[in-house]
Symmetry: D3
Subunit: 229 residues, 6 copies
């Protein structure tokens, strides 16, 4: 049976909004180096940064029908996350669906397939992370699921999970971890800001992070270049 | 025998010109979802859009000699379409050949191989769609063919066919179909413009395109999220 | 044994500086079509151009510890060249190490692995050529080598060799060849400038480079298009 | 926190055993065309066919420590399913761990990474489906999880789920669906056996499956080849 | 409009049969190094060798309906050549269609998509060259074309053309060239047989093919290894 | 200048012979996890195992002329190692050159390009590790180098270095390290044989290698499955 799940539980909007400007690499580190989608997913333009709650969409290969269905389930602050049931690089998404999503306040699209109309999407400022850019059209024959758990680019995405995406890629944070990971991410940012100040003055991470002793323990030797050969 | 075919028949220049601004995705849909080159072909800069008539060039792997030969067969409004006889990512093309082509009024290059001098080409505004960017030089030892039918990135290209290329990729339209596909493309654009207006007001493609009945027929169900787990 | 070699011999700084603005394709041709790194290495932003002397860094897969070590061995005018001992696309490098390198006057990084913080690196103007963009973090557990000969993206790089990198890719010039290749590159640029002037006036490389005779010898025939089919 | 979950619930052994000889393609169709792992996962030798219950293992990139931990959680009739937290093609698995698994009655390994000792594994008759064959060794530094839900080659695998793998690839069946999908698979096999008999006598699927009418409806036309050109 | 062309003209069966045992590499060289399909097409088992006349089949992505239609157009001595209109690795073909083809005397299948049931096909001795092995099922919704010219794996295939396929790959020979290329292939085989005899006695191709003079002309020097470093 | 270096120094033949039967994974571990060529290099048949001394050959892309030159420099016990100066998958090598090499007692070929005649090579028992199988022919126009240091599949190979290749891949051992790495490899094999005996009796590597304490230290917890959900 194929279903559309309405009224999913979403990560707290106040928490989601606070992720604004926090990078994917930071979030990924803060939650213990997990949750990254595959690096084959690339943004159609840069720079870009979005954070929002996942509405998930499972589609048949070469068939974008369910994207149209998913649009209706999206609200302001959501990010649509869509994947085909078999690998496909066809152009599932273009500016007409983007117009609907943007009108509803959706922040962007994560699409493990192909995107088209990238010039128009860039002009509109609607960011898409996709596996390919390809004009190949799709059909509307087969139904799938909206807001069921979904594997997208190697990660399990639950509806309502927090998604952060930027130039570096995409990370998923479980809905219930969103507040805690936010706090850890902010702490990490503060710590990094302090390190950055020291590095700008010429200090080295070797010293700032006390690496020299451990390096010697592991057997690293320093030698001088032998005389000219 | 290797030949250069002169004075090929080309799609009507007035028709070709009218494709200005019509996107690859639109043309591809208008002619029945066919004619797209493989998505491995990417533009060296974005945004970009060209339409023109194909001059074809078949080259030996690692040998760009025939590109020099092909230049002479190109006229204002043409697009050079070149492919090696065996897969190759070497840098067949750079700004010196581009200068010759641009001086002759050629709109751009479709190259199923590598391109180099991409910074200079970007500055010149000469667009290239290629399989790779690679500085690797080529030799000038083996002859090939100009203006013979050619398979490029998975599509058969006849000399004089219409080529449209933009940020989404490349599509070929048969010479004799160019006028008819133009009409269908323009109709499609008008229809899409109307839909866009409705989407901007918050309407959904589910309703604009009457999808709800067919979705129900195919068994799609709507359910509400179960209470908190 | 793992070592850090200090005080390596570097290509002459005056020679290195003179490579400013000379493209990778030109250098590669000038030294006899050799020294190019694989085309899988792409710059994180464009346009970009750097020339500098190589400091090499061999790292364990998924472990960026030695990058921190390598920073200290870098001086103004260097380019850090780093590769893992097994293929890896993890994000070894981000803006904190970049800040240290930029503060020391390092021109850029060649990294046969993944890069992250690409938005920040773009803003800082610190160019990186990498195999992937990926936020995946790394550990600091295993030591490697700094300033030992290293294979990076298919080329052997010796510490102190000259590296030139731009939008087209990366080329290595042996330290002792740097001055001679500079001279050959400059000659090539002058010759190309003259050709460009002729091409801008409508001349063809077929004539400028006297290709017509050799083409005929190799059996190339010119024919006119047959009458309409 | 990293955990090893002991005494997982497994699909019914009698049901699992009944999958013996039922192909992956059949199971995949019988459960509604879902559950296939990516086609990048290939068996190290052919022919091969196994069915068993999943023990899952999440490992750090370049680190096979958790495979050693997972062995102890495996019983007769299990299949070990392992994936790294970041893409990695290193050789996580060889004949020494295989010996332990085979001694315990484990049917085979699904490994989204590299395998080595493939000649020995072939001789032992211990089948492995992996992303690559690569001798590259791994370290034992970082802990992960055993018997937690895991995404492997694009599919979510729960501990205790049924896995069927053969020359065509790998399919996962949810633990609770195992009995029902078995019944559907067997029905499908019987139906196919009947069709096969008819095809062997020269009948066509066009007729056996009544396709001609629907094809005509969709507009398919039959024409004869024009006279010799 | 989608069509099935019946009663195509085929290469002469006596000529086709004479290709038995002549390798793809030989045919490719004999016809002037052209006609090879991309190396991404691999046989599902080895060794294998077939020669036959092409029946072509164009299919929608993820839809194998037209394969069923194409079966009826195949005769003894044919090879079915099938490609989707957009890149797809789904499993279009398995043993049930193979049974129909084999019953009709078809020699094998060239499929620019995925194949399944490879264990059964191997047992049946029905060879397939495909882009992937993947159990993913397809639908039967969209019609395409049979016996229209088709681009498959980078080569244009006309219905009735000669196809030769073996462990090395696949080559197409135009219908009208089949007899002439056969003669050239046989001459090449005879010449190679003579060379082989000389090589078995210890002679070198350097001498058998008189290469030494030309090598010296191109500047190749022989030097002895320097004394121990 | 292009050179052929004659009479290179080779690893001691007695030492080389003693590598017979020692696997690539073992040698790679014994010498400290280094020296592996990229996993993109695959044997044309399995099982296979060779050990020998490297004769290196650098070739132009699409040009196999230097392979003919290199044959003459090969002796009994050598392995030819060949790579193009730019990535190329053309079929550089077939049974005619193999016949010459086999007649001279050469053990096999490592070829970072394409191989053809793989059925014949399999029948002859001449093993080749290559990047692709492709019938595409090459030309004989450009000279290169024999017995100069060469980067092949990501590793620097010096003439005379020891090469071991088997089903798992290829490893290079520096000429001067050959004896020492042999000793370490044999010790490793003995140690593994002892472990294997214990594993066959049901012992676990967790205990044989004392891993339990360190795992607990790193925070690994064991829990029992929660009651049925």
């Amino acid at each position: 049976m194929n279903v559309v799940v309405r009224n999913i539980r979403r990560a707290d909007p106040a928490v989601v909004e606070a992720y604004s400007g926090i990078g994917v690499a930071t979030v990924h580190e803060a939650q213990g180096r997990k949750g990254l989608l595959a690096s084959t997913m690339r943004p159609i333009y840069r720079p870009c940064h979005i954070a929002g709650t996942a509405v998930t969409c499972e589609m048949a290969p070469g068939d974008n029908w369910m994207l149209h269905v998913a649009v209706e389930q999206c609200r302001k602050g959501d990010i649509l996350v869509a994947a085909p049931t078999s690998p496909c690089e066809d152009g599932y998404f273009g500016e007409l669906i983007a117009t609907q999503l943007q009108t509803r306040g959706v922040a962007g699209l994560i699409l493990e397939a192909g995107c088209r109309d990238v010039a128009e999407l860039t002009k509109m400022g609607f960011p898409v992370w996709s596996r390919s850019v390809f004009a190949q059209g799709t059909v509307k024959e087969t139904v799938g699921n909206v807001n069921m758990p979904l594997v997208c680019a190697g990660q399990l995405i639950n509806p309502g999970d927090l998604i952060v995406a930027d130039d570096d890629g995409i990370v998923v944070v479980r809905r219930k971890d969103a507040a805690n990971v936010l706090k850890l991410s902010q702490e990490r940012e503060e710590k990094e800001a302090k390190s950055r100040q020291r590095y700008l003055k010429g200090e080295l991470s070797l010293d700032v992070n006390n690496m020299r002793g451990k390096l010697a323990e592991r057997g690293l030797k320093y030698i001088d270049n032998p005389p000219e050969d």
